[in-house]
Symmetry: C2
Subunit: 394 residues, 2 copies
């Protein structure tokens, strides 16, 4: 018995040491901006520099958006030593110079590849070159890798092996690089992607710039709350906030657009789901509504709360969904979503949600506070999401 206790003691000690040594990458959901939804493959170093400047000046960086993610279309092939090279027309100064620029603004740089011979857009990908490519990314001072799964076999085992191979290569690259697994939830990555070495994993198909897409993705992602936590996040894809159906140089990637209420709902729901907050609009030209949505510091604080809990769906009826997200130090956030296309006058029983007694609700969009005891009543516009923080009142 003594032996056993000593053994357990030792194991605990070893585990504690291992945890202490391994720093958690992405302790809160990554925030940033990505090229794909607005620019598609029509990207270049000038665009990225302008975006870094815009994110730096617009207040986005201060609000927490730190990763600038180069998505598909940057690749120029491989040199005759198999080293990845960027498209020389699009990135004549090279990725390292671009990373230096982005870093000089206080931002981080993400890049994109795929677990197959070619990416989704049909460019050079990393299968069989994981070690070499991870080293290249590290040399370029890359901070984040989105790793796609186009042109790869459908089975789960192959996916797990290929993702683990790249995750291991990144870990051995000598640089801390966040690893985003992107196989669109088709092989239930929430069950294995964390063990494979991912800090986040897409849970669904690609988001499009319309409400139908947003709500369909949210519905799938709501159910996965207990898989999320610091360093391991469900990724329901990017924010389409501020796109307004403007497809930009990307061509036809986006949808037909959303209302500001719908964009605000996406921001609320994604924040509640502890989802990565990855903007995709043209941040060089944002209107005031878009800024209000993307830069609301109280909403972002809910998303970035260090407890790292994804909201649970507590009430689910035909028109109204209610989500509850525990926050640090015993506070909570609550979201009330009107899924219907008409205004809903509704009453939510907060006591039944577990908030017995007097509570103070703060609407983080309107900044208004109210005290309630048990029930909240109000009207919610079509596709609107009310977002409250909840404090117990003594």
């Amino acid at each position: 018995m003594l032996k056993k206790l000593i053994l357990i003691g030792c194991l605990t000690h070893i585990l504690l040491e291992a945890n202490a040594q391994e720093k958690i990458l992405a302790p809160t959901p990554p925030m940033g901006w990505m090229t794909w939804n607005y620019f598609g493959v029509n990207i270049n170093e000038q665009i990225i520099r302008e975006m870094a400047d815009a994110i730096n000046h617009s207040g986005m960086m201060k609000a927490g958006y730190q990763y600038i993610m180069i998505d598909d279309g940057w690749q120029g092939g491989r040199d005759n030593k198999n080293n990845l090279i960027p498209d020389p027309q699009k990135f004549p100064s090279g990725i390292k110079a671009l990373a230096d620029y982005v870093h000089s603004k206080g931002l981080k740089l993400g890049i994109y590849s795929d677990a197959a011979p070619l990416t989704c857009a049909g460019y050079t990908a990393s299968l069989h070159f994981e070690g070499q490519d991870a080293k290249t990314f590290a040399e370029w001072q890359i901070d984040y890798l989105k790793y796609d799964y186009c042109n790869a076999p459908a089975d789960s085992l192959t996916a797990k092996i290929r993702y683990k191979t790249m995750a291991d290569a990144l870990r051995q690259s000598g640089r801390e690089i966040v690893f985003g697994i992107c196989e669109w939830g088709e092989r239930q990555p929430w069950r294995w992607a964390r063990n494979a070495g991912g800090q986040l994993w897409r849970t669904t198909f690609d988001v499009r710039d319309n409400w139908k897409s947003i709500i369909a993705i949210a519905d799938m992602n709501f159910m996965l709350s207990h898989y999320a936590g610091p360093g391991h996040w469900n990724d329901p894809d990017m924010l389409v906030v501020g796109l307004y159906g403007n497809k930009g140089p990307s061509g036809d990637l986006g949808g037909t657009g959303c209302t500001d209420t719908e964009y605000q709902s996406q921001m609320s729901l994604w924040s509640m789901m502890a989802a990565p907050l990855i903007a995709t609009n043209d941040v060089r030209n944002m209107n005031e509504e878009t800024k209000k949505i993307l830069l609301n510091d109280e909403v972002i604080a809910i998303n970035q709360d260090a407890l790292g809990k994804q909201a649970e769906l507590k009430i689910k009826n035909e028109t109204i969904y209610v989500l509850v997200k525990p926050l640090l130090q015993g506070s909570y956030a609550v979201a009330i979503l009107n899924r219907s296309q008409i205004l809903q006058n509704t009453t939510i029983d907060f006591a039944a949600l577990g908030f017995a007694g007097k509570i103070e609700l703060r609407d983080v969009w309107t900044k208004q506070q109210q005290k309630i005891n048990g029930k909240w009543s109000g009207s919610i516009r079509p596709h609107e999401t009310k977002l409250f923080t909840v404090k117990l009142v003594r």
Copy 2:
């Protein structure tokens, strides 16, 4: 029983049909010129064009040398669709234009790759891209592929699989491309390379420009005579005839050089062994001795004899080796090699070799004929090879 006979009949028919449909590639040993021993990786399209011109004008083409082989060092990497591209400095017009030029001279173009991520000289190779590269070679109108084995695992099974993969890809490329397997005899390729789809396979380490290298390679290759035949050849590597220790732009690839007698011996022995005759000297600048050796049509006829037999080593003593090669229509070639460093006065019992009665020997180097009955006596210089054709005299 009747059923069985019919079945056998059908099978025979099917096999005959299959044989009739499948054209034999390399029905005689390939002849040509290769960049490696003189130029190393320092090649370019201008050199290849000049060689095509020189081979065309010098009589080499007329003598049968038809393949111009680009060896390692041509690669520029892969474009962003994973297509192989040539080094843009070395081959600014591209390989297809070069093939067109070479074909316009009545010659054929060979190229080089490797069954690993990188070649021997450390450039882009074809592992995992066999199908795509074979299609590229076919589009470029390539006629021959030398496929090396640097940076690949040592075991035989992997080698067989990798070579078969490329052979299958070449067969499916839509073009007839001769496939030369180059794993240096380390995995006894004579036992499996034909089934893997090679028309020839290197049997030894690389030849160097010195007698020691030539004779060491010959000694290994002599023993493999029964593996050779039309469309499937032992390859004891290239001819070093005419290099004279001149390393050219290749740097230090070659040896310190041979005497003309030794070069003539290599030509004799390689012809007897039905080896590929691949010159490596600077054919733009050949002296008369080199031309005499490389362009001897009777020696080449022995090599190219359509029966496709490799000579057998019939006499082997401390100083003298005698090889016998059956030719079409009942004639033979006989080579007598003096391995020692002194002149040997020797007598060979042709009757004991199977040539009973009166025979006519024609020395294909001196063009002199003599009739003998049973025995031949003569003097052979150090490292000289006497080469005779043998006719029965009625």
